[in-house]
């Protein structure tokens, strides 16, 4: 048999390692470029006061994003409140109870398709169901329910993946001791899957925080002189605010929008970082 050239084998090693590195470099490089660009744009408007002042369409030097921040937090918080229990429950049902049935496969396909529906469509659905149907009006609750529909499939799918990653030996060990299915799910599977469930929460929060189109459709406002006060409050959200300002012609508004983007990214990063740290604490090894 002819020997493979060792030199060629090592060369391939280097080439492919380089190719993979190039992949991550392009991704992170464009992110860095984007961040630098935004920061430069935002610099003139990036003052602490924007965090506590209210929006305006007259004076960009006085305008702020306080209602938008509070509105976004309300939306994300309530969306998690609805979507996590619902999505985790659905994921557990599909993975643990309905596993191989025809119904399960049908539901599974439904969930997967739901994940591909454009967010504007959810906005229209939310407008019809919650704003008009339940007659909630364009309030935080209607926005959160709409976003819940939107993030629900992601929570379900992430939950399923987390549950599937729990080793069978753990489940068998529990069942062999005479645990019921529910005792096994509750005491072994869910705790073992907890880090994955936090991933579901991170994904849901990020999605909910960044969505713009459905909120505009259901009637988020772009100008507010008070802070959103509760589920029945009219609301404004950060991405909606950013969208509104970028539409204005003067540079000062664009700068303000960029500053809002920086704040938005800051909130997103700190929420995710918190969740990742928590996940690290929960992580177990087998």
């Amino acid at each position: 048999m002819r020997l493979r050239s060792l030199r060629v084998r090592h060369a391939k090693e280097r080439i492919f390692q380089g190719a993979f590195l190039a992949g991550i470099a392009v991704a992170l490089g464009s992110l860095a470029f984007f961040l630098a660009d935004i920061l430069a744009e935002a610099w003139p408007a990036l003052r602490p006061e924007i965090l506590v002042s209210f929006p305006s369409f007259q004076d960009p030097t006085r305008a702020g994003i306080a209602p938008a921040i509070v509105g976004s937090l309300w939306l994300v918080g309530m969306t998690l409140l609805f979507s996590l229990p619902l999505g985790v429950a659905a994921g557990i049902y599909l993975e643990e109870y309905a596993r191989r049935s025809r119904l399960a496969r049908l539901l599974q396909a439904g969930v997967a398709n739901l994940a591909g529906v454009p967010s504007v469509v959810f906005g229209l659905l939310g407008l019809m169901l919650f704003v008009r149907g339940l007659d909630l009006g364009p309030v935080v609750l209607a926005g959160a329910l709409t976003l819940t529909m939107l993030v629900f499939p992601y929570v379900v799918i992430t939950t399923q993946e987390a549950i599937r990653a729990v080793p069978a030996s753990l489940r068998d060990g529990s069942l062999a001791l005479g645990a019921t299915h529910w005792q096994t799910v509750r005491r072994q599977v869910i705790p073992a899957a907890a880090p994955g469930l936090l991933t579901a929460a991170i994904l849901a929060a990020s999605r909910a925080m960044g969505e713009t189109a459905p909120l505009i459709v259901i009637g988020a406002v772009v100008f507010m002189k008070f802070l959103p006060y509760g589920p029945d409050s009219p609301f404004i959200a950060l991405p909606v605010q950013i969208y509104a300002w970028t539409g204005l012609p003067q540079d000062e508004w664009r700068s303000l929008a960029a500053a809002a983007i920086v704040v938005f990214l800051g909130i997103l990063l700190s929420v995710n970082l918190g969740a990742i740290l928590l996940r690290g604490k929960l992580q177990r090894r087998w």
């Binding site: 596993r99 191989r100 080793p167 030996s169 753990l170 489940r171 068998d172 060990g173 529990s174 069942l175 062999a176 001791l177 005479g178 645990a179 019921t180 005792q183 005491r187 072994q188 705790p191 073992a192 177990r284 090894r285 087998w286």
Partner: protein, 278 residues
């Protein structure tokens, strides 16, 4: 996988000794008794027409090459095969005289009476104490004192107490493989099973850890029936009172361990225990 004449060539002639005999041994009441038991994965038979009586308070070993159906049979006894989709059981399997596959049998109750130890130690990712408390709390609402007593008793019974007494709150995954397996045994003992099934419990362990488990098995048979699946023939010879040899889903021979190893009646058994195949 219906047996064909050719399958046996070079291995030994099929001499139906115990397999055709519903009463291979005479002893008192059986702890486990199977009558013409067959188990299928889909359409593929894993166990075929198995009739076997396993005596109380003895160690019965089931030996045979990989894929002979010994683990499948073992897992049938506490109905753990229920968790495998497409697994079908026909025939009769009785534990302490009760048909395990009767419609009114609750597997949860059965598994309390019949413990199962797995091939690979599978402690829960929690404390040593928590591992044992888990099983107890599935079935009881013990007070803190009661729970402490039960945990200590189980660890003593599994001959692990001296090694872990001062670190009960540490994660069980920090224990050595042998200690983990004894913890799993302690976990099973804590709910006081009448029968303990062990599925190649030492195959992932070193010889010293194996010796400890074997000592433990000898100790435990005073109080319960033990069924031991092993592919280690020396282990069967050392710890088992009775030994069953299975091949291709069938019981080939069953009898007192000494007889199986010293005077096997089936050529197939002899060829297996002398290492000519397997």
């Amino acid at each position: 996988m219906e047996l064909e004449a050719g399958t046996w060539e070079g291995i030994g002639k099929l001499e139906p000794i115990a397999a055709r005999d519903a009463q291979p041994l005479s002893f008192g009441a059986a702890a486990v008794e199977s009558k013409h038991l067959s188990i299928f994965y889909g359409r593929k038979p894993a166990v075929q027409d198995l009739s076997l009586r396993i005596p109380r308070h003895r160690v019965t070993a089931i030996i045979g090459p990989s894929g002979c159906g010994k683990s499948t049979f073992l897992r049938a006894i506490d109905r753990m095969n229920d968790t495998i989709p497409g697994c079908r059981t026909v025939g009769i399997l009785e534990v302490e005289g009760e048909d395990v596959y009767a419609p009114d049998v609750d597997p949860v109750l059965l598994r309390r009476k019949v413990g199962l130890i797995f091939q690979k130690p599978n402690p829960f990712p929690k404390s040593i104490f928590g591992n044992i408390a888990f099983g107890v709390q599935l079935h009881y609402r013990p007070s803190r004192e009661e729970l402490g007593e039960v945990v200590e008793a189980a660890l003593r019974q599994a001959q692990l107490w001296d090694e872990v007494a001062d670190r009960l709150e540490e994660n069980a995954l920090g224990l050595s493989g042998g200690q983990q397996q004894r913890l799993c045994i302690a976990r099973a003992l804590a709910i006081q099973p009448e029968i303990l099934l062990m599925d190649e419990p030492c195959s992932a362990l070193d010889p010293i850890a194996t010796a400890k488990i074997e000592t433990l098995i000898a100790e435990l048979k005073q109080q319960m029936t033990i069924v031991l699946v092993t592919h280690n023939m020396q282990q069967a010879a050392r710890v088992a009172d009775f030994t069953a040899f299975m091949y291709l889903g069938r019981l080939i021979e069953y009898g007192p361990t000494a007889q199986i190893f010293e005077r096997p009646r089936a050529e197939l058994t002899e060829n297996y225990i002398t290492g000519r195949f397997g």
